[in-house]
Symmetry: C2
Subunit: 219 residues, 2 copies
Amino acid sequence: MLPSENELAEEYNISRVTVRKSLSLLEQAGYIYSAPGKGYFIREPVTNKYILSFNEMNNTNGQSIFSKLLEVNVIPPDADLMNELKLPEERYVIVIKRLFFSDNTVVAYDEKYMPYEKGLPLVEREIKCATFPELACKNKSLFSIKKSLKIRSTTSQGNISKLLNIEDNHPLLEIEQKLYTADNKVIGWSKTYYLSEFLELNAYWSFGQNSYEMNDMSE
Amino acid sequence: MLPSENELAEEYNISRVTVRKSLSLLEQAGYIYSAPGKGYFIREPVTNKYILSFNEMNNTNGQSIFSKLLEVNVIPPDADLMNELKLPEERYVIVIKRLFFSDNTVVAYDEKYMPYEKGLPLVEREIKCATFPELACKNKSLFSIKKSLKIRSTTSQGNISKLLNIEDNHPLLEIEQKLYTADNKVIGWSKTYYLSEFLELNAYWSFGQNSYEMNDMSE
DNA sequence: TAGTGGTCTAGACCACAGC
DNA sequence: CTGTGGTCTAGACCACTAG
């Protein structure tokens, strides 16, 4: 679909290396892709992938969040928890329950679960300020983990209403986080419930800053 | 912080071009960055940017959504709309209101606004199946637009409850979309309200597939 | 001034598509 | 078999940084 590297090099009187450099820039930006042995082809824009900003300990405006520990425990997991953490056997699990504050008002409630391992931090002041990856990765490199989010809308009921000091049926943004090692072992699971008026997530898409790489590239 | 290109080339007995290729791979993956005239430095992991999947006309499971037009109109904008669309003067605005169905049940309500331009589609069957960028970009290239999302949790009230055929106080995922041209002119604004049980957004983060590029790279 | 990364050249060999 | 992209080499010159 595009002229070959050699043709381009000849047409513009530049070396093939330079042509390749230019094409690779276009490829990185998502405009084209190469098929070895065939040639270069243009790529249709991907319109369903966005860059999402999210930081557990910062809201969208960048204000810091302070946390108050409600509970830290080591418990035997129930069936549900064993399933979420994909525990092969019945291993102990660390529970951390926290409230998040911004400007001295409650803005979120947070529950985290991690398979118990020696060396994981259980010291209050460490837990208070650490982000989820830091908590679960005491011995591992931050470079080697993966993380997934699920984002839902829900409403406050019963216990959560009380903890967040709001009426029932108040809208909440529920963010479920899962941490994985490089070999897909679950090392952490958490749910955070944000007051809807406190957290609004932002995402954006624009070409050339896109995540075209992670698409099946059917021709 | 890292050995220079020449040092690496000598150490491994490979050409400098090959060293540069390797380093550029690490740079693309977000592990290092280069400072011209100085050298290469390692980059701290960015943990607050995710890849979000979202498609107005598909839910997270990939099921297609069918839409039913409630209203298509050309109206003079009110103050709020002029502000959102950043209209310099009082230009007419296209309104499209739709209901989304999946498996014959209502799953979302959608409102879209676009500054009126000649050539924009106002034909029912075109509107029904088109995505937002397609609607607003009749004359422009999909390559040249930008798009931002805001994601909130809210609850159904009054009119929206009726349209969605649910009780008041039902949790909804509200997604606000804005479309821009390359020079930041607003060409579309929309709000979609999804039943919370229908839409759950997914995002993920893993190193090397990350969006490190779009960070201020303070040293 | 010496060293760094950024850019470019003119070759070479390979695995792979497609005829 | 020829042409494609993928990989690699051994040079060259430039702009920039830092002592």
